[in-house]
Amino acid sequence: MLRKYKPFLRAGAIDTMTFRFNIMIWAVVTVCQVACLVFLWLAVYRSSAGGIDAEIHGFSFREMIAYVVLTTVFNFVTFNNDTMWYINNDIRKGTIGNHLIKPISYRGKFAATSLGSLLTMAVMFGLPFYTAALLALRGLGFLPGLTFPAFFAHLGLFLLSGLCASLLNDVISYIFGVLCFYTTSAWGLNSLKETLVSFLSGTLLPLAFFPAGLRDVLSWMPFAGMSQNPVLILMMKYDLAASLRCVALSAAWIVVLELLAKLLFSHAARKVTVQGG
């Protein structure tokens, strides 16, 4: 009698589990990747002139591991917007037309959505993940002991720079999304964007390892503010003045990039090709 409802029961359970399942898969993939990096860095420091206790470009082995772990958490919590895919979908399905006649800004809609998802992610995952990561790193001796008033100042600046990072990521996603007006497909542009950001933001490797000239240029670009700087602020590698400068630079870039996005959009909107209706 009730048997015929079993598939629905199962479907409901699976639906609810999906999100949790995705997080689990993410965790396994990430642990494998982080482990690979830990082995690589272990080999690098062991092979360096000063041995495992050496400091390379201002990073000790322990700090480097803390950096790898914290950037991984940071990227997961901060970069979760689908702005580019939404724009691409709007173009391919033709719904872009509806958005263009609505009395709200297309850009504003995405900025708000991204902030909403940032808040959820920060509370749902950020809080437990950062706490766990910081406690574990501290417990294993990978982070120095915290001095409390100073830590809270850094924590505040970290949150602020995290917010800037998320906004920067959103506006860059938006710019690449608008470029889809020209290419009508997001696949290639998206991978180009992800590569650029992960390399130039110091996610792949801290910018301190880059050659001097490139490093100087990049220190004035918006990318470092998207991953490296917030994490280094949290690790208290920057003093308060340097941290403040990083936040100010990010804020300035947000303004510049928003203007650029506006210009680009007004040009692209005249080119729009709608593929479906």
Binding site: V29, Q33, R46, S48, T184, W187, E194, T195, F199, F209
Partner: protein, 263 residues
């Protein structure tokens, strides 16, 4: 012969549909190239700050990295559709059409896409090998070069077989993409010499997921003559045969349990 003809007809059709998005294809090609270049640059910057990595010089590590790209690129050229099968196509119910045609489903899946991005990887890998090899002095023997070819070719067979077997699980579980992602990501480990890993990971990369067997060991053989080349050739080919047979077996078994999800 009929299948060769059929393969090219299908691929031609898929290329035409791909060219619908010319600009995007170009961007995708260059982004792929660029992403490999970035990881390489990162590795180069790291190696600049130390004398050698676990005893391997800059050019030797570069050689490893370049060589690891070859089997991965070869697999990438031909079997990209398996990702879609594992992630989406079974779940969305659009595999049905393949079951109605008088050609094996596995063949149709392979004939669905040809990924020219793979060429970018192949060229970059080959260029890296050429640059690094010209800066290394190695005693090249016929055997050590043969083992590189065997490693690249049969390594690609092993990777593709792994992908086939795991993608086939989607016929039962509707979606096996995430699992495929986890397994495939272990290929990153094989980009560096095995010497940097602890013993259990080394064993894992040789005996369980044999990325190390067909990437690291052949390179070690060329650079240091660490292993007997012909024995290694035999091991790689044998391993590829086992993986291939297993993959076909798993695919056929899972295919029989396919149930359409509707649409």
């Amino acid at each position: 012969m009929r299948y060769v003809h059929l393969y090219f007809t299908c691929i031609k059709r898929s290329m035409i549909s791909r060219l619908e998005y010319k600009k995007d294809t170009l961007v995708a090609l260059s982004s792929f190239f660029f992403s490999n270049l970035c990881s390489l640059a990162a590795l180069y910057f790291i190696l600049q700050s130390i004398p050698a990595l676990a005893g391997y010089s800059l050019y030797e590590v570069g050689f490893f990295y370049g060589f690891s790209m070859l089997p991965i690129a070869l697999d990438h050229l031909f079997s990209d559709e398996l990702w879609l099968v594992a992630y989406r196509r079974v779940k969305d119910g659009d595999m049905d059409m393949h079951f109605l045609r008088p050609v094996p489903v596995l063949f149709q899946v392979f004939a669905e896409t040809f990924q020219p991005e793979g060429f970018g990887e192949l060229i970059l890998g080959a260029a890296l090998i050429a640059v690094c090899a010209s800066n290394l002095t190695v005693a090249v023997t016929f055997g050590s070069v043969a083992v590189l070819f065997v490693g690249a070719l049969f390594g690609a067979v092993i990777i593709t077989s792994l992908k086939v077997a795991i993608a086939a699980l989607a016929f039962i579980f509707k979606r096996s993409g995430p699992l495929l992602q986890i397994i495939y990501n272990f290929s990153t480990y094989a980009k560096y010499p095995l010497a940097i890993y602890p013993a259990f990971i080394r064993a894992f990369l040789i005996f369980v997921l044999p990325f190390g067997l067909f990437i690291s060991l052949p390179v070690d053989t060329l650079l240091y003559g660490k292993h007997d080349p012909w024995l290694l050739c035999g091991a790689i080919i044998g391993c590829a045969a086992v993986f291939f047979a297993l993959a076909v077996w798993v695919w056929t078994a899972c295919e029989r349990r396919y149930e359409s999800t509707g649409s």
